[in-house]
């Protein structure tokens, strides 16, 4: 069974199988781009649409109302790449000596881009997408990410998380083609890096992607909770003893991990604000401080959101009780205070940082009071 898309070509409607629709859309988009400088663009586009429509009609009959994806490919091959006679030369206008239709059309291959791929994803599909991008088995990518995470002290994991929410999912046939794409070369890599950087500037995209990712996670964890609850309910009431045990193990762990993440984040933020470095790592020159701070906030929410979701999952497995939340909050405050104390006492860098901050705060306070007085 194939999904069918209804389209209008120069005022007439046709039904195409979905992959065929995607291919046609790409073809027409490319044609339009190639004709961008031509004053005849609108006219040529209408001509092309009509010609394609006519070819579709020739394929249809009383017992056939849908143009198959293969037929669309055939039509596009027949049409050939669009060439602007007064614009830039096309990549394969005249097939040398060959019959029309036999020519390959390199212009039709979408540019290779990094996508997240759902098919066979383990968590977010990032590794899967990278594997498709560099054309190696996904297992190697996963092993590499895991090892690098260990050796980089978590840095690579942060990069992974950032990728998980800025890289889009390959949801259309075109995206999937671009995800696997042509063999990649440096030029492609630079181009896609540029493009990603341009998209990076689009702040709404960030938010949109992030919201989508959060919804995705929430769905996953909700699903997990549901399963756990059902399992708990089935095993009740003998479970309640075990449930308490799960909770009493789970909540402290969640509180400790949450506190560690929070303390590390606060220290990173302090160090960024006071010394313009994150634990000795300086921001690249072209990134202003406020972007660095913003990124840090984002990184925190990226790390904290799944943690929170896991915690809720664990608490609910232990049977929902508001007491768990209170317990968690108290433990979290305790752990945070403890960690700050440990960091201040045992890490000279941290002490320097805090002292510097206190000094700056004192200075500000005295300046303000002097101004007032």
């Amino acid at each position: 069974m194939q999904k069918v898309v209804s389209i209008s070509l120069n005022g007439n409607s046709y039904q195409l199988e979905e992959p065929g629709y995607e291919e046609l859309r790409v073809y027409l988009e490319r044609a339009e781009a190639r004709l961008a400088d031509s004053p005849d663009r609108a006219e040529v586009m209408a001509d092309l649409e009509q010609a394609i429509g006519e070819k579709c009609r020739a394929l249809l009959g009383p017992h056939k109302s849908v143009v198959s994806a293969a037929e669309v490919s055939g039509i596009i091959r027949e049409m050939g790449p669009v060439e602007s006679p007064d614009g830039k030369p096309a990549d394969a206008g005249f097939a040398p000596g060959a019959a029309p239709g036999a020519s390959t059309t390199p212009g039709l291959h979408p540019r290779k881009r990094l996508f997240k791929i759902r098919e066979g994803q383990m968590w977010t599909g990032v590794c899967n997408g990278i594997a498709a991008y560099i054309n190696v088995d996904v297992t190697w990518v996963r092993i590499a990410v895991a090892l690098l995470t260990l050796f980089s002290g978590g840095g690579v994991f942060l990069v992974y998380l950032v990728l998980a929410f800025i890289v889009p999912y390959a949801d259309t046939a075109e995206d999937r083609a671009a995800a696997f794409g042509m063999p990649f070369n440096t030029e492609e890599l630079i181009k896609s890096a540029k493009k990603n950087f341009e998209e990076f500037g689009d702040k709404y995209r960030w938010r949109r992607e992030w919201r989508r990712q959060q919804r995705h996670w929430n769905r996953q964890f909700k699903h997990m909770n549901e399963q756990l609850r059902v399992a708990t309910a089935n095993a009740a009431p003998a479970m309640s003893q075990t449930a308490r045990a799960i909770g009493s193990v789970f909540v402290p762990i969640a509180a400790l991990v949450g506190a560690i993440v929070f303390v590390v984040w606060i220290l990173a933020l302090l160090s960024l604000v006071t010394q313009h470095t994150i634990f000795g790592w300086a921001l690249p020159h072209n990134i202003p401080l406020w972007v660095g701070i913003l990124l840090l906030f984002m990184a925190y929410s990226v790390v904290a959101a799944p943690l929170r979701a896991i915690r809720h999952g664990g608490q609910n497995a232990a049977g929902y009780h508001p007491g768990w939340n209170v317990l968690h909050s108290l433990m979290w405050i305790g752990f945070t205070a403890l960690l700050f104390w440990v960091a201040y006492t045992f890490f000279p860098g941290v002490r320097e940082l805090v002292d510097q901050l206190m000094w700056a705060a004192n200075l500000t306070v005295s300046t303000i009071s002097e101004t007032i007085v």
């Binding site: 120069n10 005022g11 007439n12 044609a31 004709l35 031509s38 004053p39 005849d40 006219e43 040529v44 001509d47 092309l48 009509q50 010609a51 429509g53 006519e54 009609r57 027949e78 049409m79 050939g80 790449p81 669009v82 060439e83 602007s84 006679p85 007064d86 096309a90 206008g93 005249f94 097939a95 040398p96 000596g97 019959a99 029309p100 239709g101």
Partner: protein, 107 residues
């Protein structure tokens, strides 16, 4: 560089001339032009032909009129304009001169 590759720009340049020649006869529809060109060295595709025809029309060398077709929407039939006819004559002369020059050089 092999021979066919060398001849591509030559054929490309001549395509406009060939189109003017085809359109000089009766009014023609693009699909029929493609059919005419198909078996020749000038075999081409819609992707090339439509932009070229639009350019020729902008230069006022060809024009088109709409004609009803038995199946589907009306079609554009192309024909040569007076200006196009003058240019075609000039191109024909040029081509003859070119042939003569080539012949004069011998083998």
């Amino acid at each position: 560089m092999d021979l066919t590759e060398k001849l591509v720009p030559l054929r490309k340049g001549l395509l406009e001339f060939v189109i003017l020649k085809i359109v000089a006869g009766d009014k023609v529809y693009v699909a029929d032009m493609l059919k005419l060109l198909g078996p020749t060295e000038f075999a081409t595709q819609e992707g090339t032909l439509y932009p070229l025809l639009s350019k020729l029309r902008r230069e006022e060398l060809v024009d088109y009129e709409w004609q009803e077709s038995e199946a589907g929407p009306p079609r554009k039939y192309y024909k040569l304009t007076a200006k196009g006819r003058t240019q075609l004559a000039a191109l024909n002369d040029y081509w003859k001169n070119l042939n003569r020059t080539l012949a004069d050089f011998g083998n």
